[in-house]
């Protein structure tokens, strides 16, 4: 089953280790500005630290606008064929997430290649904000949250040693009056 690189922004602390390891893995240099993942900090209201990374779309807009077909979806990854790329950066402009990057030292656009299936950013993320999940698991947490809103489940919040916990339960065996 294809694996998908996903982001849990609430867990991102903005340390940018992902940026560093990406640049080191792909360019062998210590330069967070040569990374295919970037952490955007937007402040204040609300506080957001959002790693922006390629979603490897099945219908990739970047590939559609590519005049030389240098970008192709192959086995779950939108791959860039360097020999066909003319460095027009239309892909970077068209990506709806802004997840393709350009750096003046690099001719080719900087685009996530999933490190051949073993993304370094996921491995080195200290908070678990970047994760590799099976496609079928996507949306799981949203489904759960959503279900709670229309089922009769009740919810209580409690704190254990400073950690917030939620217990969900259905009230059963209660007689209707």
């Amino acid at each position: 089953m294809p694996l998908k690189l996903t982001v849990i922004p609430e867990q991102c602390c903005g340390c940018r280790i992902c940026e560093l390891v990406c640049a080191i893995e792909h360019f062998g240099v210590n330069n967070p500005k040569k990374s295919a993942v970037r952490v955007l900090n937007i402040y204040p209201h609300p506080v957001i630290r959002m790693p922006v990374v390629c979603s490897q779309c099945r219908v990739p807009l970047c590939a559609q606008v590519c005049p030389t077909d240098a970008l192709r979806w192959v086995e779950g990854v939108v791959q860039l064929e360097p020999s066909e790329c003319i460095a027009c950066y239309k892909c970077a402009e068209s990506c709806p997430f802004g997840a393709i990057y350009v750096h003046e030292d690099c001719e080719l656009p900087i685009k996530c290649d999933m490190c051949g299936g073993d993304p370094q950013c996921v491995k080195k993320c200290p908070t678990g904000a970047l994760r590799l999940l099976p496609e079928a698991a996507l949306g799981e947490s949203k489904r759960l949250d959503n279900i709670l809103s229309y089922t009769a489940m009740k919810e209580i919040e409690l704190y254990e040693e400073g950690e917030k916990k939620v217990i969900r339960y259905a009230e059963v065996g209660k007689e209707e009056l």
Partner: protein, 611 residues
């Protein structure tokens, strides 16, 4: 040996008076000897002092502000996001430095320079913008009166880029309040020694940066292997998760338990309602996000939001231990929302939270004791825990209104005005003491007294170790640990990395020797690096001595000598003046200084080489 990595070997010199901007090469000998950060700053400040015959007005155009990350800043290794600011301090009139985390120093390095030196004074309020192509000074008088956070937003808009990093000052810096800080990344602060004031005196509202250069690393694969080992070690540490969750806020519980938490202006060293302002309360009711400096897995920063009550809507990066202790228990405040509000106010105005907390607490006690009259306070009463009056006073300090004008001068000005206030302000050399009560630990008292910037814990923090295992330490051991800390901890500032992985998660200092050598291609041992750091300590001492400092300035605050904490595990303890003086003499001996704390005259020549 020539350096194969770690540096661009370039510095940027800006003279705001003349509008001159110049890039100069940096010699290997200079880079090797002073390493970076405060090392660079100390050397440049020393040269500037010599040029001006050791007569420098901290607020004069001649004072140099040096901004320097280090060779390890921004590099793939734990917590490499530090940057130092160095100048003659308006708080002490002596050498001063302060460091900040976040991403500012990394961005500075990515513009392709190792240090920035700012002299002169701009004709109107300006922003210094640096990118890979050079630098320019942009007048932006419209920023006058804007808070640090507002200014950061406005400058980003004006420059048309949301990825610039910048360091700004607030109203306090513009008004040259003696303890104004420099703020970056929406709430990272270089707080101490009034360096925001120096920026204000130069009419420099902000330094904005955008860089994209590769940082020079000599042995990348060696570095990655070493860094991965260190990251792995930290993640396995039993306290790692707790640091991520609470950051420095976990220290509140520890400090209260061990009796070193400042309460009511250090009248006490425990706080009965500490649980209302501790890390657990923060986690359960206020924390909405984590915040990390560059490349740091510990992410000790917190982001808090007040969700209800009169401070609803207050968002702040922080607080951490010092801020919470100085603006909470030390002012008798037990409402965490009020602490957050005060922290936010200080961030906006650009005030150092430690000094602000200390001075406001001294005012409250001074009024309580009758040293200050109601008329002195412009008719507004202020008492412990009165958050409205406290916030109002903080505002008045930044705007220099009424009594705020005197308080804005810092401890020295306050004591000049009301000599009796010396008995209630805890300060050394004019810098207010941090939030660790040194009456519990004579080595900590010595650390505060001999710190080159005044009563700050950055140079040596021996209190925990002495309380845990030092009850039978000899004088030699007590002095020894202070000197060891004063060598090692500044070395982190010179490298441009944070010391928390070492002091809190036990990351061995030998890692840093290997990091340094991988990055620069050098082959220095930890001992050799510590000696270089020690040289810088000698240098800052020399500068201070030439600026008029002597043994009597390596002193203890009145309270530490005279007034014991009322309750808690350290109730009744003070630091005996004779014991202290004996340790101080031994300290000078071990450092090779004479009994007045003056380094040998021959030492000065060591530092007169050219940059």
């Amino acid at each position: 040996m020539s350096l194969k990595g770690g540096y661009f070997k370039k510095g940027l010199w800006v003279d705001l008076t003349r509008g001159a901007i110049e890039t100069r090469g940096l010699a290997d000998a200079f880079l090797e000897r002073y390493i970076g950060g405060r090392g660079f700053g100390a050397k440049l400040v020393w040269d500037n002092l010599r040029e001006h015959d050791f007569k420098i007005d901290p607020l004069g155009a001649e004072n140099l502000l040096v901004v320097a990350p280090g060779p390890l800043s921004g590099v793939y290794l734990p917590s490499s996001g530090k940057n130092s600011f160095v100048a003659i301090s308006p708080a002490t009139g002596l050498y001063g430095d302060s460091s900040m985390g976040g991403g500012f120093g990394v961005e500075l390095r990515q513009t392709g320079i190792d240090l920035l030196s700012v002299a002169g004074r701009a004709a109107e309020l300006s922003v210094l913008f640096i990118d890979g192509d050079g630098a320019k000074v942009i007048p932006m008088p419209e920023l006058k009166g804007k808070s640090c956070l507002q200014a950061e937003g406005l400058i980003k808009e004006r420059l048309g880029s949301h990825i610039v990093h910048m360091a700004t000052i607030g109203v306090a810096g513009e008004n040259m309040v003696g303890f104004a800080c420099i703020s970056a990344d929406w709430g990272r602060n270089a707080g101490r020694t009034g360096l925001g004031t120096v920026m204000g005196s130069k009419n420099l509202k902000a330094i904005a940066l955008q860089g994209n250069k590769d940082l020079p690393v000599y042995d990348m694969s060696g570095l990655v292997a070493e860094a991965d080992k260190a990251y792995g070690y930290m993640k396995e540490h039993p306290f790692f998760k707790m640091w991520q969750r609470q950051g420095l806020m976990n220290v509140i519980d520890y400090a209260n338990e061990t009796g070193i938490l400042p309460a009511y202006n250090f009248k006490d060293s425990v706080f009965a309602r500490y649980q209302q302002i501790n890390g657990t309360t923060m986690l359960n009711h206020y924390k909405i996000g984590d915040s990390a400096c560059f490349a740091c897995p510990m992410c000790c920063g917190n982001i808090c939001l007040v969700k209800s009550g009169k401070y609803v809507g207050t968002v702040v990066e922080g607080p951490e231990y010092e801020t919470c202790a100085m603006l909470g228990p030390n002012l008798g405040i037990d409402d965490f929302a009020a602490v957050l509000s005060a922290a936010r106010l200080c961030d906006e105005l650009g005030l150092d939270t430690i000094s602000t907390g200390s001075i406001v607490a001294a005012v409250i006690e001074g009024y309580e004791k009758g040293i200050l009259s109601l008329a002195d306070l412009d008719g507004r009463e202020i008492t412990w825990g009165d958050d409205d009056a406290i916030l109002e006073l903080i505002r008045k300090i930044a705007h220099r209104e009424g009594v705020g004008d005197i308080l804005a001068g810092g401890s020295r000005r306050i004591i000049e005005t009301w000599p009796e206030m010396d008995k209630v302000i805890l300060q050394v050399k004019g810098l207010e003491q941090s939030a660790y009560d040194s009456r519990a630990s004579i080595s900590m008292a010595l650390a505060y007294a001999t710190s080159d910037i005044g009563a700050h814990h950055t140079r040596a923090w021996t209190i925990a170790k002495e309380m845990e295992e030092g009850s039978n330490w000899s004088d030699d051991e007590r002095v020894g640990i202070v000197i060891y800390h004063q060598k090692l901890r500044p070395l982190f500032d010179m490298f441009g990395v944070c010391r928390l992985p070492w002091i809190e998660l036990g990351l061995n200092e030998l890692h840093y020797e290997r990091f340094y050598n991988c990055v620069t291609g050098g082959s220095l041992s930890l001992d050799e690096l510590l000696e270089l750091s020690n040289d810088v300590y000698d240098l800052t001492r020399l500068a201070n001595v030439r600026l008029g400092m002597s043994r009597r300035d390596d002193s203890l605050p009145y309270k530490v000598r005279t007034n014991p904490p009322l309750t808690g595990p350290n109730a009744g303890k003070v630091i005996n003046q004779e014991d202290f003086q004996r340790l101080l003499t031994l300290y000078y001996q071990k450092r090779g200084w004479d009994e007045n704390g003056v380094p040998p005259a021959s030492l000065a020549e060591k530092f007169n080489d050219r940059v």
